[in-house]
């Protein structure tokens, strides 16, 4: 695998920008020709994967399309029909498979997602609010000038500011964003624990085709992609989900159960997730958080579960162990290498310290963005089989405590041993801590493909 052409890949795919502010603009194409002109003129604005040797920009711009959007742009039928079925259907139609039912069902989503109106996602990230506003203003000017695209809605997201400092925390108080995989060819300071496990215990990057179309994947073949090849190559698929967090419910559930757990409240919280709130993996440090681990890239993600089959350190159903089981299913982790996703996105809403009053209805949560080469094999599989079902983890029908669509009688077992501070403990009657407010499936094309779309050069077959 040679180095990727970073100038042809949208930067959002290759790296988390690590900028504290974001605004996601949702666009609708009113006229195919003028919308194409908009895309063509946007091309120079789109942030690529090129290294920022001359310093970090103040803001970034990236774009992705729904299938309806590509259809509104009048791409040839041969192309539109060659996209994978789940992308053609869109996330809403996949609700039954994803477990987006009950309170997570499309009928209760935010208005913009209830109908199939969104054609494109325009993601702007920025180092400051000023830079964000100014870049978004540029985008609106461009939309006005070209007159083929309207803005349906915008979603702000931002790193949570705690004690005046932007952090990588989410609203429940956990440090987020440890788990992104390494991929072959993607230049990034690779970190042990972030790719796939070798049988000798070392880690290697995943095949590029697990992230990008046009490259071999872990099964030794190209991911399913639309025709022509050049439209697909260096592109990827993106999941966008607005996940509302029921903070009051989470805090009271933890407070109500902690007194009965001999390990104490913080340890119980850590057992839920698999990391202490500061991010220390409980598998590595079962008794207390350890900043020396979280701050050491050689250690913070470098662990396996094989030596803890009973979940005595990290519970078998802990969120992090469910969504990235590493070697927990045996076979040196080979059963999970084609199920990995890359996380992007930021929280929305304002951080509220513990002790201050909160309600579930406050507007807060996380904009969950995942990138993958194949929705059904990667994101949908994780969501269906590992979040809303438990068989692979040998947990029967139990759902993920944190993300599961519980109906009030979910159960989570904290495995333990006979030592007094680490007893087995059962959490019953799980409420839904997280609810879905909407989202969609997007195609995030390469720079070349954006040019083809912008200039109307996608050939009919």
């Amino acid at each position: 695998m040679s180095k990727l052409n970073e100038t042809d890949i949208q930067g959002f795919v290759l790296r988390g920008y690590n900028m504290p502010f974001a605004r996601y603009l949702f666009l609708r194409f009113e006229d195919a020709g003028r919308a194409a002109t908009f895309i063509h003129r946007l091309l120079g604005e789109v942030t690529t994967g090129q290294r920022w040797d001359s310093g970090k920009p103040l803001s970034t711009v990236n774009i992705a399309f729904t299938h309806l959007g590509l259809s509104a742009l009048e791409l040839p039928d041969a192309t539109l029909l060659s996209f994978p079925v789940e992308f053609q259907q869109g996330m809403k139609k996949r609700a039954a498979i994803l477990g987006d039912t009950g309170r997570n069902a499309p009928e209760s989503w935010d208005e913009i997602w209830r109908e199939d109106r969104v054609h494109a996602w325009l993601g702007v990230n920025a180092v400051s609010l000023d830079a964000l506003n100014s870049r978004c203003a540029d985008m609106l000017t461009l939309m006005r000038d070209t007159d083929g695209v309207i803005l349906l809605d915008a979603q702000d997201a931002a790193a949570l500011v705690i004690d005046g400092v932007p952090t990588t925390k989410e609203h429940f108080g956990f440090t987020d964003g440890f788990g992104n995989p390494d991929y072959l060819g993607v230049e990034r300071s690779s970190q042990p624990g972030q790719g796939k496990l070798n049988s000798n215990g070392t880690w290697a990057p995943l095949a590029t085709g697990e992230l990008l179309l046009g490259y071999a994947d872990e099964a030794g073949e190209l991911p399913v992609a639309p025709v022509p090849h050049i439209l697909a190559s260096n592109g990827t698929f993106m999941v966008y989900r607005k996940l509302h967090q029921n903070l009051a419910t989470f805090r009271s559930y933890l407070n109500d159960h902690a007194p009965f757990y001999a390990g104490g409240k913080e340890k119980l919280a850590a057992k839920f997730i698999g990391r202490w709130r500061d991010g220390t993996p409980i598998e590595l440090s079962p008794d207390q958080p350890d900043p020396s681990i979280t701050q050491d890239p050689a250690r913070s993600t470098n662990f396996t579960f094989g030596a803890d089959p009973e979940g005595v350190r990290c519970p078998v159903g802990a969120h992090m162990r469910r969504v990235n089981p590493r070697d927990a299913f045996g076979f040196d982790g080979k059963l999970i290498n084609r199920r990995r996703i890359t996380r992007r996105g930021l929280p929305y809403g304002v951080w509220t310290p513990e002790g201050e009053s909160v309600t579930d209805s406050d507007e807060r949560g996380v904009i969950f963005i995942a990138l993958n080469a194949d929705f059904s094999r990667q994101f949908e599989f994780v969501q269906q089989q590992w979040i809303n079902y438990g068989n692979d983890a040998r947990l029967g029908n139990e759902k993920d405590l944190l993300m599961g669509n519980h109906t009030g009688h979910g159960r989570f077992v904290v495995q333990g041993d006979t030592t007094p501070t680490n007893p087995p403990f059962v959490c019953s009657n799980l409420p839904s801590f997280v609810e879905l407010r909407g989202g969609g499936y997007f195609f995030l094309p390469s720079i070349t493909a954006l040019g083809m779309i912008g200039m109307g050069l996608v050939d009919p077959r």
Partner: protein, 198 residues
């Protein structure tokens, strides 16, 4: 007609083999049967309840006279019946990623078998040689193989604790009970409905 009942999927597959290859396959199965470690991967895959391979030699199709026309075949046939948990794609993905060598050994004698890696030709082959189930029954539609194993562990652990429940002091019992909970703590998942199939 459905291949699915609750948490189990019934797969039927039939593939033709040149008769001279059948003997080799029989030797392979003989070894697989008698060398238990070779079955380890199947056991560890943990989502197969029962599976069987049946070789039907070309002259051994049941013949009952009474007007039945005898078969006149060039190939022997390998029948494969599996009862697995999860979706068709999931099952074949897992097979291909961790059992490819074993699968290749079993099916390489069959005509046109493309090998189990890469996966797309393999899936196309399986889809081609699979035939659907008319009627599928399971005594435990709400339980996967893992659930069954978990239940047996809980039952035997309970039986052990039961033996001393009457005779021990409350304190002794409480200690034994904690040991019991630790023994069964990874086997308490509830059973129920299978996820929706796409």
């Amino acid at each position: 007609m459905s291949n699915i009942n609750g948490k189990v999927y019934a797969m039927n597959v039939i593939t033709p083999m040149k008769p001279w290859k059948t003997g080799l396959l029989r030797i392979l199965f003989f070894a697989l049967w008698h060398i238990k470690p070779m079955q380890k991967d199947l056991i560890n895959l943990s989502f197969i309840e029962f599976a069987r391979w049946v070789i039907v030699p070309r002259r051994s199709f049941p013949f009952l006279a009474q007007g039945q026309v005898p078969e006149d075949l060039q190939y022997d046939y390998l029948l494969f019946f599996s009862n697995f948990n999860g979706t068709w794609n999931q099952y074949i993905d897992a097979f291909s990623s961790v059992l490819s060598r074993g699968l290749n050994l079993i099916w390489r004698w069959s005509e046109k078998f493309p090998g189990s890696v890469p996966i797309t030709p393999f899936k196309e082959y399986i889809a081609q040689v699979q035939f659907d189930t008319d009627y599928y029954y399971t005594a435990y539609p709400y339980a996967a193989a893992n659930d069954l194993k978990a239940a047996h562990i809980v039952q035997s652990s309970l039986d052990q604790l039961a033996a001393q429940a009457q005779t021990s002091t409350p304190q002794q019992f409480a200690e034994a009970y904690l040991q019991f909970v630790v023994r069964v703590q990874t086997h308490l998942g509830n059973t129920g409905e299978a996820p929706v199939v796409s």
